[in-house]
């Protein structure tokens, strides 16, 4: 059956290694395949690889057994050399997937269906990084001169941007960028024949138009459903909603250090640097109210900047204090800011679900303890450079954890900002002790020790309130009655999982 | 007794205003016999045009005929439904409006407009209509009508256009033609031709004509009978000769009296020479002015050949102190351009203007001198007064700008004094220009000109926007002031009678060239240049009737 599937923006490119971006991967997953994939509960599952393990006696080598009898859309056989070629391509200069394979020293084909990855050191969590690295056909790629990944800056595009040759369940029929992509069933796919035999993948940027299209029966499945429409849609005859947690949390961050804030009326000290202030700020953050009103129930409030899917998450960490404005006021007074202070909160307005509304709500809450917040709301294209340049005193940010491992969070958000690490440590939090532990995670070879270190780091992060988490996002897909598409925690649904009643 | 073509009885036209009604025509009765030309005269606003509009049924909203009746060949037409009235227009009543420039639709050729009109009224084929159109045009005096018929109105001169308008009005051979100021937008020379055409056409077609004008000269030449209107009523009717020779009503007397004549008469006022005559006060030397044409301002930046039109060509003359120099010539001959150069509004291309020995375009001191000594009075008194300013500020501006008087009370005193000079009550200084009549406005303009205590005033058509009666007053005032202050005037006018009355010397401009220049009497009585002769011949003269 044909499925008409709409979401807010299109895949950026069809070159599978050019962009490390959710929408792009989602489409690619239907055409290309990866060695491993993640099921709807976030667990790793075999795909083109059937087995994977550390090499006996050498914990710096990962061995992958490949699926046999798989063919590319053009009829070529899938073998180990394709994997070697693809991983090397993903590691090459213009690839955006490079970072994920930084620790791979070399990839070798042991035989036609076995591949060995030589890592730079012990790398326990490396298989997590393979879920979005797609395997291309070496022969086809060479024929079409695809050795270099598409480099947007050079002004040249390559054959792979609009043409595909994967092993996936669907083949590309036609593509009108930003408008419509049509995929047809790959009859020779190795997996179980899916119910969906044709996909019309549509881009509808405007949320209201997207919902209208569903309501008027012009599409079957809509991704990126605004929370406020969920209730209504699920109550509307003929439509239903599938919801599920996403592997992404939303948090506020603030500036650490003694330097006075640029946007504050307090010019001799940095109030955020005072733990009491941070505590007070957490005490006025009414996560449940935000969940109920702003998110319409479509979020999972959390006390830790780490989604439940990720290793290292615990229930205690996830707990958060009940709001207590009185106590917060006392803390403010204790901290020396009985009258509060003023500051600017930078928020994106087109990146996360209700991002601006969450910020607006928190501005109101902070007002109750005298923190007078000016809200600066910007499109993400402006918000992003601002926080990357550490120019924000106080900001909202969301963070997905594609590797499902805590280290991913630590590396970018907690580690002291350097060229390689702490890229999004906008508050410039710096704790050398933690830094050491974070770095050790990447080379630790013993799982138990590693888990213990992760737990230790989380203790400190929570105690220091390095970040002020609000909630984990909840994904919602809307569809017409008679179709079911389960939620995928990385928001990369597979049409192969669609069932019809 | 034959039946009159048009018979108007007790016509009343009203304009309802917010809370009162205004009677533009108040009980007018006129009869016009077949083949007769009846002139309707009267001051501006007397209700002449309104009477004409009422006859043809085109009174503009909210005006309407309040009472009275209009009969065409005995048949009552004023109460016909609009559709029936529309059928009369063009077919039985033709109309000629004052302005030929605006009466023709600029987007259609003359032929199209003629053929359209002809075919609306007469059952002719396209080709027949075209032939008739050509005939009409030649009859109206358009040479080579067959060739010109496909021209657009803008390709015709003003006089030709007016003839086209007349041709259009008579296209369907109407029984009655209403001509509302058919010549007042035209030059004297053209005016004479148009009148001739109109008259000829009437006699050929036997139509009755109602000729509306304020120009007694035109009436004298054309009309059989005369109707004098004033304030919406008819004050006097009779044959032209009768009324001109023996006007009975005071208003008519005044009207006739105030017509200047180019013949030297008893009432001639030549300004008394000023105390001492030191020769030339103003010297204009080889004045030239070129205009670039055919290029937009943007493309001026580009190199390329510039087409030049020479509007003023080596004009030279002098004016002695305290005298008036008259400059005459047809429209477009360069009179105003000369004036503008003399007062410093337009820079001459070459040549020199000396006022009291200072070259006014030399910059520096000359410039300063000019600002003090030279002033100008403009044609349209309303346009020359800033409508948003009070009279006091208007008159005071030169004093303030030139630093003659600065303090408030002093300024006010002077303004009051000037207003008294021009015979206005000083209390009017708080009013705005629109609260005055045309004559009063021109007095204010004169007061403003005097305010900078000039010695030399350039008057560009100072009275042509005014009624004959007012014209006389303004001219009187100018003469008195000249006598009082020893002013020197440059008087520009196309009205030869005015020039004759006012100036001691005259220059005749033709196509930018000064074709003749000398004492007034010499030129008027004994013109040398052909152009001057033609100009003088063309002037209609009421004394011919008398």
């Amino acid at each position: 059956e044909t499925i008409r599937w709409a979401r807010s923006s299109d895949a950026l490119t069809l070159d599978p290694h050019s962009q490390n971006q959710g929408n792009t991967h989602t489409l690619a997953h239907h055409i290309y395949e990866t060695l491993l994939e993640r099921d709807n509960d976030g667990n790793l599952q075999p795909r083109l690889a059937t087995e994977w393990a550390l090499k006996e006696g050498d914990d710096t080598v990962w061995v992958f057994k490949l699926r046999e009898g798989v063919k590319f859309h053009n009829g070529n056989d899938f073998t180990a050399e394709d994997v070697v070629y693809s991983i090397e391509r993903a590691k090459s200069e213009f690839s955006n997937m490079r970072q994920l394979h930084a620790e791979v020293e070399s990839v070798t084909a042991v035989d036609d269906y076995t591949v060995e990855f030589q890592m730079e050191g012990p790398s326990l969590i490396y298989p997590n990084n393979l879920t979005n690295t797609f395997i291309m056909d070496k022969t086809w790629s060479d024929e079409n001169d695809l050795a270099t990944v598409q480099d947007f800056a050079s002004g040249a595009t390559n054959h792979a941007v609009l043409n595909t040759n994967g092993t996936g369940p669907y083949t590309l029929e036609s593509r009108e960028v930003d408008v419509r992509t049509v995929l047809a069933l790959n009859e020779g796919w190795w997996g179980e024949t899916p119910a969906v035999t044709e996909i019309h993948y549509l881009t509808i940027a405007d949320a209201q138009t997207r919902i209208s299209a569903l309501l008027s029966g012009e599409v079957d499945i809509v991704q990126d459903v605004p929370p406020q429409d969920i209730q209504r849609l699920s109550n509307t005859e003929g439509f239903k909603i599938e919801t599920g947690p996403e592997n992404r949390f939303i948090h506020f961050g603030y500036k650490f250090g003694d330097e006075p804030l640029a946007s504050s009326n307090i010019t001799d000290s940095n109030p955020f640097n005072n733990p009491l202030v941070r505590e007070a700020m957490e005490l006025v953050l009414d996560r449940d109210a935000i969940q109920q009103v702003v998110m319409r129930g479509q979020s999972i409030p959390t006390g830790i900047p780490n989604p439940p899917f990720v290793a290292g998450w615990t229930e205690e960490l996830d707990a958060y204090p009940a709001p207590d404005v009185e106590r917060a006021r006392e803390l403010m007074a204790e901290a020396g800011y009985p009258d509060g202070f003023s500051v600017t909160l930078d928020t994106p307005n087109n990146r996360y679900i209700n991002d601006e509304a969450i910020s607006t709500a928190y501005v109101g809450m902070l007002g109750q303890i005298g923190i007078n917040v000016t809200l600066a709301s910007r499109p993400v294209a402006e918000h992003s450079p601002l926080i990357l340049a550490n120019q924000s005193d106080f900001y909202l940010l969301g963070w997905g954890v594609p590797t499902f491992d805590s280290a991913y969070v630590f590396n970018d958000l907690v580690h002291t900002k350097t060229d390689e690490l702490g890229t999004y440590n906008v508050g410039l939090y710096s704790n050398p002790e933690l830094d050491e532990k974070i770095v050790s995670l990447n080379v630790e070879s013993d799982q138990a020790t590693r888990d213990a270190t992760v737990a230790e780091i989380w203790e400190v992060v929570k105690a220091d309130r390095v970040l002020l988490p609000v909630h984990n996002q909840v994904l919602a897909y809307a569809m017409r009655e008679g179709v079911t598409l389960p939620v995928q925690p990385e928001n990369q649904p597979h049409m192969t999982s669609v069932t019809f009643d | 007794m034959t039946e009159p073509v048009l018979s108007i009885r007790n016509l009343v036209v009203e304009f309802p205003f917010h809370d009162e009604t205004f009677r533009a025509v108040d009980g007018v009765s006129i009869d016009i016999m077949p083949g007769e030309v009846v002139g309707v005269v009267g001051e501006s606003g007397a209700g002449k045009s309104m009477t004409g509009s009422a006859v043809i049924g085109l009174i503009e909203r909210p005006g309407h005929i309040a009472s009275g009746e209009i009969r065409l060949k005995g048949e009552r037409i004023d109460n016909l439904p609009e559709a029936d009235r529309a059928r009369l227009r063009g077919k039985r009543i033709g109309m000629v409006f004052q302005d030929p420039l605006t009466s023709l639709n600029p987007l259609y050729t003359v032929g199209q407009q003629l053929i359209e009109t002809i075919r609306t009224h007469l059952p002719l084929s396209e080709a027949q209509a075209r032939q008739k159109a050509i005939d009409l045009l030649s009859e109206a005096g358009i040479p080579k009508a067959g060739e010109r018929i496909d021209s657009y109105p803008h390709q015709f001169s003003g006089g030709m256009r007016q003839r086209v308008v007349i041709a259009l009005a008579i296209a369907a051979e109407p029984e009655l033609i209403i001509a509302d100021e058919p010549t007042s937008a035209l030059d004297v020379s053209v005016q004479a031709q148009v009148i001739k055409v109109l008259k000829k056409l009437c006699s050929n077609h036997g139509a009755a004509v109602m000729l509306i004008t304020h120009d007694m000269g035109v009436i004298a030449q054309t009309a059989d009978r005369l109707v004098v209107m004033h304030h919406g009523t008819v004050v006097e009717t009779g044959t032209v000769g009768d009324i001109i020779r023996r006007p009975r009503e005071p208003y008519t007397i005044k009207l006739i009296d105030s017509i200047p004549t180019i013949k030297r008469g008893e009432g001639e006022i030549i300004a008394a020479p000023a105390a001492n005559d030191e020769g030339a006060y103003v010297t204009v030397n080889q004045l030239v002015r070129d205009f670039e044409i055919g290029r937009g301002s943007f493309t001026k930046l580009l190199p390329g050949k510039v087409e030049v039109f020479r509007a003023v060509n080596e004009v030279s003359f002098t004016i002695p102190r305290g005298k008036t120099f008259g400059l005459v010539g047809e429209s477009g001959s360069g009179k105003s351009t000369c004036a503008k150069m003399i007062v410093g509004l337009t820079r001459p291309t070459s040549g020199q203007i000396l006022v009291d020995g200072h070259d006014i375009w030399a910059g520096g001191a000359g410039h300063q001198e000019r600002r003090k000594r030279v002033q100008m009075i403009f044609q349209d008194p309303y346009a020359s007064l800033n409508p948003r300013w009070r009279v006091r500020d208007i008159i005071a501006e030169p004093m303030r700008t030139l630093g003659i008087a600065r303090n408030r009370t002093e300024v006010e005193q002077r303004v009051a004094e000037l207003l008294r000079k021009v015979r206005l009550d000083p209390s009017v200084m708080r009013k705005f220009p629109h609260e005055f009549s045309g004559g009063q406005r021109q007095r204010i303009a004169i007061a403003r000109a005097l305010s900078s205590q000039p010695a030399f005033i350039v008057c560009d058509e100072p009275t042509s926007a005014l009624d004959v009666s007012v014209q006389a007053q303004v001219l009187d005032l100018m003469s008195e002031l000249q006598a009082e202050y020893g002013l020197t005037y440059l008087l520009i006018s196309h009205n030869l009678a005015v020039v004759r009355q006012m100036s001691s010397a005259v220059g005749v401009l033709h196509n930018g060239v000064l074709v003749e220049n000398g004492p007034t009497d010499a030129i008027f009585d004994n013109p040398q240049a052909d152009y001057t002769k033609m100009l003088l011949d063309a002037v209609p003269d009421i004394s011919k009737v008398a």
């Binding site: 209208s212 209504r232 005298g370 000016t374 600066a376 | 410093g344 800033n386 300013w389 009549s437």
Partner: protein
């Protein structure tokens, strides 16, 4: 009475006491009193303006003071009590703000932005139009070409771009304070050309008039001539474009808000309210969109109607 001819306008006695009477009897007032639509429009406009100006004093709540907001009041339907027990005539929005109060404060922001932007456009357009019309030549050519360029881009696009530039120039922590001014300048810059064109045309007509020549003969400074002589005579059409421009500016502000570059969401304008409200079109909370939208339409409509009337009233030919 025969000594002087009578101009169409009968001289009016200059008695001071009658000035009010003169005004009342003037054409403008007369045409106003004759037009029920205009009377209604002006009453509506006045009410809205009054509401906007006095919003801080008459609005039931202060939606701009975050400290008084309770998120739990959110989504209260009109004419009912919230979960927190407070009563809201027109309901509350997603942040628990009273819709009536946000509308009042929002109109205040919208009117302020609209009025200031129009003023800005007016000053700039009139200034440049005067110069272009009076000086002519190369200045005229340049200014008019700039006008063409600007008219070729829709106001929204221009405002969008200017907004972007301002964002880049102003340091981030001052941006919010400046946002409203940036918006004003952006909309103003997007609309000046209309004024410039009109004024240029009118100036070219006025420039030819003899009263300007009279001033030039005196050697009055051209700047003074422009300011004191020409300007007062070209303001008529400017006022008309101004009223219509005001309505346009208000709508432009709304559209910019829709595109996400409007005023800060904590101090929403009518446009921002509509942008926020339209998210709830399908979710049943119609009042969040409807009331601000009605207000915007009423405001724009009444101002437009007034502008229309003014245009006709000032144009004697159309009477």
């Amino acid at each position: 009475m025969t000594d002087l001819p009578h101009s169409p306008e009968q001289p009016v006695p200059a008695a001071k006491a009658s000035r009010w009477k003169t005004f009342i009897r003037s054409d403008i007032v007369w045409s106003y009193r004759r037009s029920p639509v205009t009377i209604t429009a002006s009453i509506v406009a006045l009410l809205l303006v009054f509401m906007a100006i006095f919003a801080p004093w008459i609005a039931p709540y202060n939606p701009f003071n975050p400290a008084t907001l309770n998120l739990m009041d959110g989504f209260t339907p009109p004419n009912s009590n919230s979960m927190g027990g407070r009563y809201f005539v027109l309901g509350t929005d997603s942040q628990g703000r009273d819709v009536l109060s946000t509308i009042m404060h929002g109109s205040r922001v919208s009117l302020f932005v609209g009025a200031m932007a129009t003023l800005f456009a007016m000053v700039m357009g009139v200034g440049l139009g005067l110069v272009a019309g009076y000086v002519g030549g190369i200045w005229d050519a340049v200014i008019m070409r700039v006008c063409d360029v600007q008219l070729s881009f829709p106001a929204i696009l221009i405002a969008l771009l200017i907004f972007g530039v301002a964002r880049g120039i102003i340091p981030p922590n001052q941006q919010e304070g400046a946002a409203i001014w940036v918006l004003i300048i952006a909309i103003g810059l997007a609309n000046w050309a209309q004024f410039a064109r009109t004024v240029r045309g009118a100036t070219m007509v006025e420039r030819q008039k003899d009263y300007v020549a009279a001033a030039r003969i005196l050697g009055v400074n051209p700047f003074i001539i422009l300011l004191r002589h020409v300007l007062p005579n070209v303001v008529g059409p400017v006022l008309v474009i101004g009223t219509i421009g005001l309505a346009l500016a208000i709508i432009e502000e709304a559209t910019l808000s829709y595109l996400g570059v409007g005023v800060p969401p904590t101090q929403p304008s009518l446009g921002t309210l509509i942008r926020i409200g339209q998210q709830f079109l399908f979710s049943g909370e119609w009042w969040i969109l409807l009331f601000p939208a009605i207000t915007l339409v009423l405001l724009a409509l009444s101002v437009n109607l007034l502008g229309d009337w003014l245009r006709d009233a000032l144009n004697p030919k159309l009477r």
